[in-house]
């Protein structure tokens, strides 16, 4: 096991196109870090640079304190699980898992023991003599994970490992990977575009956009204190409400004539009388009579989406919309006008020009 350090890592193609720019972060020994972001954000490129499958244009990557920039993939002592599994089709499951050990001249008895253990852990014992073509997608992914485990590498790299599985299997495998991490105590870097996967698995999440690191934090802090509008919008489903607003001494103006009552005695920690973007999580928008210390207003309901346990309500605030996560017991119809309120401590403010949080 080992820590992974990225110091100002950049990737350029053809000397100009920047795929990753100056990313610095540390994955402590034994932690599961998730790189998350929309497609094309550079998360996979970053992972492949750690793996040694892409060269590092600038900066430095260290595994276990040793600079690996110039080490080929085979000498970095890492294992990787690929999105499309990348199993060797002409080898049996057993040989797929044993291949890396054989190349390292591990004694036969040791190979048998490790493959057996991994197969038991992943419940693929009965499949050991099959070829990959005779396996389902979920089974193949287990074999790919098994192939990584038997190596007992310093670091595990997962490149969107669940993207090719159907929704139910994805949820099951996600839980299994989490258990596996807890059991092995291994350092894992996990790439995904799915923020739910990121939130559920990670000890730390790196949010990337357009090749730049937006924020690297624990899931809780990332959710509660997003550093910018991108992170606020990317993490959480439905995403954080983002509304342009103007603070005046008496009220909060939403534009289009809509406004909110401002709690008496509340001093906003942000500048007054200039346009701001205010962010509010849907679960923090309360429906019904407002407390005195809350921001409160009235708005018509334009969309009702029942989800079973809860209902998503979309309110029209001036020309903007506000999504609210309400109890499913609340009976609301489209066109109803509701009173909503938000406690000031749940309001985030962002600079509309830079997107950075105040």
């Amino acid at each position: 096991m080992a820590a992974v350090d990225l110091r100002a890592v950049s990737k350029t193609y053809d000397g100009r196109q920047l795929a990753v720019r100056e990313v610095s972060l540390s994955v402590p020994d034994g932690e599961l870090a998730v790189f998350v972001g929309p497609s094309g954000c550079g998360k996979s490129t970053l992972l492949r640079m750690v793996a040694g499958l892409e060269s590092i244009s600038q900066g430095e990557i260290a595994i276990g304190g040793v600079r690996v920039n110039d080490l080929p993939a085979r000498e970095r002592d890492i294992a990787m699980v690929f999105q499309d599994y990348a199993l060797y089709p002409h080898k049996s499951v057993r040989e797929n898992m044993a291949f890396g050990l054989r190349l390292r001249r591990t004694p036969e008895a040791e190979i048998r023991r490790r493959v057996g253990e991994a197969a038991e852990l992943l419940q693929i014992g009965p499949l050991l003599d099959r070829k990959p073509a005779a396996l389902s997608g979920g089974q193949r992914q287990r074999v790919a994970i098994g192939r990584a485990i038997v190596r007992q590498p310093k670091v595990f790299l997962f490149d969107e490992p669940l993207s090719n599985l159907d929704a139910q299997l994805r949820t099951d495998m996600r839980a299994e990977i989490k258990r596996l991490h807890q059991r092995l105590g291994a350092t894992i870097i996990y790439v995904t575009h799915d923020q739910v996967e990121a939130m559920t698995l990670a000890s730390r999440i790196a949010v990337l956009n357009a090749g730049q690191l937006q924020q690297y934090d624990t899931p809780a802090r990332l959710y509660r204190q997003p550093h910018n509008l991108f992170v606020a919008g990317f993490m959480g489903s439905p995403p954080m409400n983002r509304l342009t607003a103007n603070l005046t001494p008496q009220s909060i103006e939403w534009g289009g004539g809509a406004s909110c009552q401002r709690p008496t005695g509340w001093a906003a920690p942000w500048p007054e009388q200039i346009p701001l973007v205010l962010g509010v999580r849907p679960e923090h928008v309360m429906v019904g009579p407002a407390a005195n210390d809350a921001l409160a207003g009235q708005a018509p309901v334009v969309l009702v989406e029942p989800l079973g346990a809860e209902t998503l309500l979309t309110l029209q605030v001036g020309q903007q919309t506000l999504v609210c996560r309400a109890s499913s017991e609340l009976s609301v119809a489209m066109g109803d006008t509701l009173t909503f309120s938000v406690h000031p401590r749940h309001v985030h403010a962002f600079n509309p020009d830079t997107g950075a949080s105040w």
Binding site: A51, G52, L53, P72, A73, R74, E75, I78, A79, M80, F82, D84, Y85, A86, L87, Y88, P89, H90, K91, F99, G100, L103, R104, R147, R151
Partner: protein, 298 residues
């Protein structure tokens, strides 16, 4: 996909036959019919072979071949040369295709592609005439160069010990580009993911080739070895142009020997010889296909 729903209706089967007919006819007239005639001729007496009522002699021509030491030697020589040639062709073509893929020649890739394929589209006779000149003992470029460097001279096509090698080099030069194209196309289809997984598993370049690339190259290996087998068993042009079967019979392969006998009016024996060769090719090619096909279904 939208395109699928607008796919034009399949044309009537009749149209298919109209397109196929001219080529099917050509194949029948110039391909299949001569083979049938040759097989038929191999069972007739040479003296009457070209007459309407040829004299039927049963297996007599084949019996003559069986007891003809020149034929038996020629057959042995053909088989030896073919094994050597198939092996060198496959290995050379595979190495060259890997070279074309490698990063070492990033800039010169086009040059290397043209260099290997140009001989394939060069008329073979012209190419072999040039090779004959290159090997010439008195004014050939090869020996002139060796002499200038103070190295021992090369026997080329004049010496029985070097002629097979010399002929093989000329044939490789002419043919190998074709096999390179097949390997190269197959290499382009190989799964990059497996290669990356192997790198991470710790495979060095040789282990990567052996465990990951080679299994994926099976289709090209099959096509190339069957095609090369057929081609080298029929070796004729290079002999006719460069050595006329010599020196001292050492390049007198079955096709060339059959041609010589035919030239002497020994039609029965010549066609018997051709029939033996044809059957051999058919059997070996069938065997190769079967071996590979069997492995694939495992």
């Amino acid at each position: 996909m939208v395109q699928n729903s607008h796919r034009p209706a399949a044309p009537p089967v009749g149209v298919f036959w109209w397109f196929v007919a001219p080529f099917a006819l050509l194949t029948l007239v110039f391909g299949v019919w001569p083979i049938v005639l040759a097989v038929q001729t191999s069972f007739t007496a040479s003296a009457t072979a070209l007459q309407p009522q040829a004299k039927w002699v049963g297996w007599a021509n084949y019996a003559v071949l069986w007891s003809d030491p020149i034929f038996m030697n020629s057959m042995l020589r053909t088989l030896t040369y073919t094994s050597l040639a198939v092996f060198s062709t496959i290995v050379t073509a595979l190495l060259y295709a890997l070279l074309l893929q490698s990063v070492w020649i990033a800039r010169g890739r086009l040059f290397f592609k043209v260099a290997v394929f140009l001989p394939v589209v060069t008329p073979d006779i012209a190419g072999y005439v040039v090779w004959r000149w290159l090997y010439d003992q008195s004014f050939g470029a090869i020996n002139t160069a060796l002499e200038a460097l103070g190295l021992p001279l090369f026997g080329g096509i004049a010496s029985t010990s070097t002629v097979l090698g010399a002929v093989l080099v000329a044939e490789l030069w002419h043919h190998v580009g074709f096999y390179v194209v097949i390997f190269w196309a197959n290499l382009a289809l190989c799964d990059k993911g497996q290669s990356e997984a192997a790198q991470i598993d710790g495979a060095n370049p040789w282990q990567h080739f052996w465990h990951v690339l080679l299994p994926q190259l099976r289709p090209a290996l099959l096509v190339n070895s069957v095609y090369a087998l057929i081609q080298y068993l029929k070796t004729f042009t290079v002999v006719a142009v460069m050595t006329k079967g010599g020196p001292n019979e050492s390049t007198n392969f079955v096709s060339y020997y059959a041609y010589q006998l035919f030239d002497q009016g020994r039609y029965g024996e010549a066609t018997a010889m051709a029939t033996v060769l044809f059957t051999l090719i058919l059997l070996l090619a069938g065997l190769a296909m079967r071996l590979q096909g069997g492995r694939r279904s495992q």
